[in-house]
Symmetry: C2
Subunit: 505 residues, 2 copies
């Protein structure tokens, strides 16, 4: 069921009210904020729209408000999963803060209830939780679990992957470490091709890209083993986010898991960006691969606490027991405290109560259909892909050469900002428009942002003298013919039919 109308009306009053509020929450002029930031905040911490940054003082639902009370439509903050400052989440956090906030060395109901509720969303095998404070802490712990359980050390990661900011994760994040020299790279880490059927090694025209990409992992494992090294884990975002909203072909994870387990390693699914119903058809994005796929370790983050620093690692009893055998306790000062868990429980409640997963499916289909239309009209739109409210639009200067339209993507972002719409561009070429809005995003919001992009692209293409070629049109038509229904999620590849079967199943 799509709760679009109900969601809108329920929020409508709030939004109007917020618009009328003259925000009194600014403590200093924007210029002063910027000056202090330059003085006291590490210059490596970058700001959105650095030429003209935004000062946000308030937010609600899918809207953010600047110091002048101007409203921005938020298409990027997947962290504010159930909507900015959702009253149920705020209330749960505030009430628990007043009662107790302490560490998990004391027994507390919130911790075990939250773990039980998370477990209920996962295959039975994944039954043991570790509550931590960030996706980085979760992925680091996942590596420690994998290494301790397997007794192996080496890790396979994907091209363009991003798994976090602590040292051990920079090591396995090509999105970050591509800037480093070879000498600075970790010899225990091996990079497999990104299973990107648009720009990758095997594309939509390949008869079986899932197997082809999985075979690459197998070959990598064989090479590593030939050097006397041993595989502890394969880690992948269930859908690559910073890497350019990449959707791996169905069946890829199953085959990779088989190869990795055969080598004595485990499969880590990183759901930090994409979990908690965002993909619409499923609660977890790894489930897009089919019910026959179960990872050994799942990591969660960003949306889990709607902005509160909270994350989780879930694994099997076997892996958890293997970790004990090191004799080393695991203690995380803030991890799993009663406030974090109260907030985590409230987020799960809101997802269920407001059927946000169903809404992501419904609004996501609408958004993808609109973006597919854009692709038919605009030569700059090379690919539209994603699931639910996790969608990427790859801009290219040339649909055959796939020349990244990086500057154009930046132009779109900045122009949208003028229209008070927040969108970002990412991917290795920074040419992929990334949609991952709060899950209360509506069809009307989708209409608005796509209409604005249409106008911006029209103007851009006119300036560039770009026109839709007959060939591109034909290509589009041929893709359309392969697509069973326009309401289905876009994949921009011949995998659509197979994917559609899974969604319907």
């Amino acid at each position: 069921m799509c709760l679009n109308r109900a969601g809108l009306s329920a929020r409508g009053s709030v939004v109007l009210q917020m618009d009328n509020i003259r925000t009194s929450v600014e403590k200093m002029e924007k210029e002063k904020t910027l000056d202090l930031r330059k003085k006291h905040i590490g210059p490596s911490c970058k700001i959105f729209f650095s030429h003209d940054p935004i000062k946000i003082v308030q937010a609600r639902g899918q809207y953010m408000y600047d110091e002048k009370g101007q409203r921005y439509l938020d298409c990027i903050n997947n962290v504010a999963h159930v909507g900015h400052c959702h009253p149920d989440v705020v209330k749960a956090g505030a009430q628990q803060m007043e009662l107790l906030n302490t560490n998990s060395r004391f027994l507390h109901d919130n911790l075990v209830l939250f773990a039980q509720r998370l477990q209920a969303t996962l295959p039975d095998r994944l039954s043991v939780c570790y509550l931590v404070n960030s996706g980085s802490e979760a992925n680091d712990l996942a590596l420690r679990l994998a290494r301790q359980y397997t007794g192996h050390r080496d890790v396979i990661t994907l091209e363009n992957a991003y798994h976090g900011h602590v040292s051990s994760l920079i090591d396995i994040s090509p999105y970050k470490f591509h800037q480093l020299s070879d000498a600075e790279r970790n010899p225990f880490v091996h990079v497999a091709p990104s299973p990107d059927v648009y720009r990758g090694k095997y594309r939509a025209d390949h008869p079986d890209p899932a197997t082809a990409y999985a075979d690459e992992v197998k070959a990598l494992i064989d090479g590593v083993q030939a050097e006397g090294r041993k595989i502890a884990a394969f880690i992948a975002e269930s859908l690559q986010s910073c890497g350019g909203q990449v959707v791996p072909p169905v069946g890829y994870f199953q085959q990779v898991a088989e190869h990795v387990r055969e080598a004595g390693g485990v499969f880590i699914a990183d759901e930090v960006q994409v979990g908690f119903g965002r993909v619409g058809t499923n609660f977890w994005a790894f489930q897009l691969q089919g019910e026959d796929f179960v990872p050994d370790i799942v990591t969660m983050g960003k949306p889990i606490g709607n902005g509160h620093p909270l994350s989780c690692v879930v694994t099997t009893k076997e892996v958890a027991e293997g970790f004990v055998s090191s004799g080393m306790d695991y203690f995380n000062t803030f991890g799993g405290n009663p406030v974090s868990c109260a907030i985590g429980l409230a987020v799960l409640d809101v997802i269920a109560k407001e059927d946000l997963q169903g809404k992501a499916l419904c609004v996501g289909r609408h958004l993808s259909a609109l973006l597919e239309q854009l692709k038919e009209e605009h030569p700059l739109v090379g690919d539209v892909r994603g699931c639910g409210l996790f969608v990427g639009v790859e801009l290219v200067r040339d649909r055959l050469m796939l020349t990244p339209a990086t500057a154009e993507a930046q132009h779109v972002i900045y122009k949208l900002k003028e229209e008070r719409i927040l969108l970002s561009a990412d991917g290795p070429h920074r040419n992929v428009l990334k949609f991952k809005p709060p899950m209360c995003f509506t069809k009307e919001d989708a209409d608005l942002v796509v209409e604005k992009i249409h106008l911006i692209l029209t103007e851009l293409e006119e300036g560039l003298g770009l026109k839709m070629s007959n060939k591109a049109k034909m290509e589009n038509d041929s893709i359309k013919r392969k697509r069973p229904s326009s309401s289905l999620h876009s994949r921009g590849s011949s995998q659509d039919v197979q994917h559609a079967k899974h969604i319907k199943a």
Copy 2:
């Protein structure tokens, strides 16, 4: 000024009120909580008093309440720095949660105000902040900063040190990695002797333990350099906590910093356990070494958010600019969000408003004086050391051999629990009673816990047939003669006079 009386009366009414509340916050029977915990929480996550764990449902000030409404005096939770569930902190957090909680890529006043306020507590050189979510994230980032700035890789850490739970920090935490085989240890990490003047290599009877321990670091650096390796950093807790409440001799850090900087490395002071006024005489524990000592990087954690997942790294402009040169941005999803910063600001406000640093000095002196008395009466008490409300009592079976009284320390802890007092034992031999209570801990609280320990030790010693020998008495007397005033902090060493000068200055 000591706010003891005012603090007590202000909290008195709250405490009485809480005692009368029939807590209705338990959602299931304790047995059920324990069962679910066994099922769904990683078995490496240990619980206090594992034979008979405590279920805590509420807390306020220095008191925690179990599911039956029984009140425990909390002597261990330094995280609840300004008192459990301090209303000012709760209010600040709840109000900001309702307004906005988003990432630091948007400009926000709370972030820059908090950074500015933190900077104001530090020497001017330390002016650039990175807000993160945990002490572990802070220390990992400190290592990244040090390595990027120096271009070096190797790290010197102290025996028994604990710096966090992520992979890179297990590597530099002998408290953790002592369980690992040599093959599992990181070749880039070098361990210097703990500057422990009670049990370490150079003791109270040494004419200049500060220089002796610093020379050990110098020798280590020379050895490392002879192998062609280069020092990126020396890292130390300003006062070792898990390592057994160790207070380094005054002047040690200055000399180490000189050696490390000469080798091209930086000095990282880990204030995660001991910062924010706990030591009483100073806001930061590294300042106990004297005003002539300034670290290159300071990491903060636990008390900074009174339990909220918040931490910080502060460094110099030069180190921060060196980090930029990697070309790699630093982004932390939750780090420095408006809610975390509002809470951090509220904690700083409460410390100032309630003069908690002054209170820590005053109550800490009282506590230490009482514990010194215990030492005179009880042969099991080998050493009393610490500053402010960070105090350790080392139990030994024999004052000359320093045989650790590990079982006795555990006995004391369990007996205190029966009296509804929470204390813990730590250190490499788990024989050091660790005091690090919320800073609203009062003289009366100190009287109570020390009286209970006195009774427990009396019974224990009777059972063991231990009596205060004349020799031990003489040793005590000789130490007393060297101590200028009984109200001064204990160091259990001949460093007292030097230390006293610093405190008075």
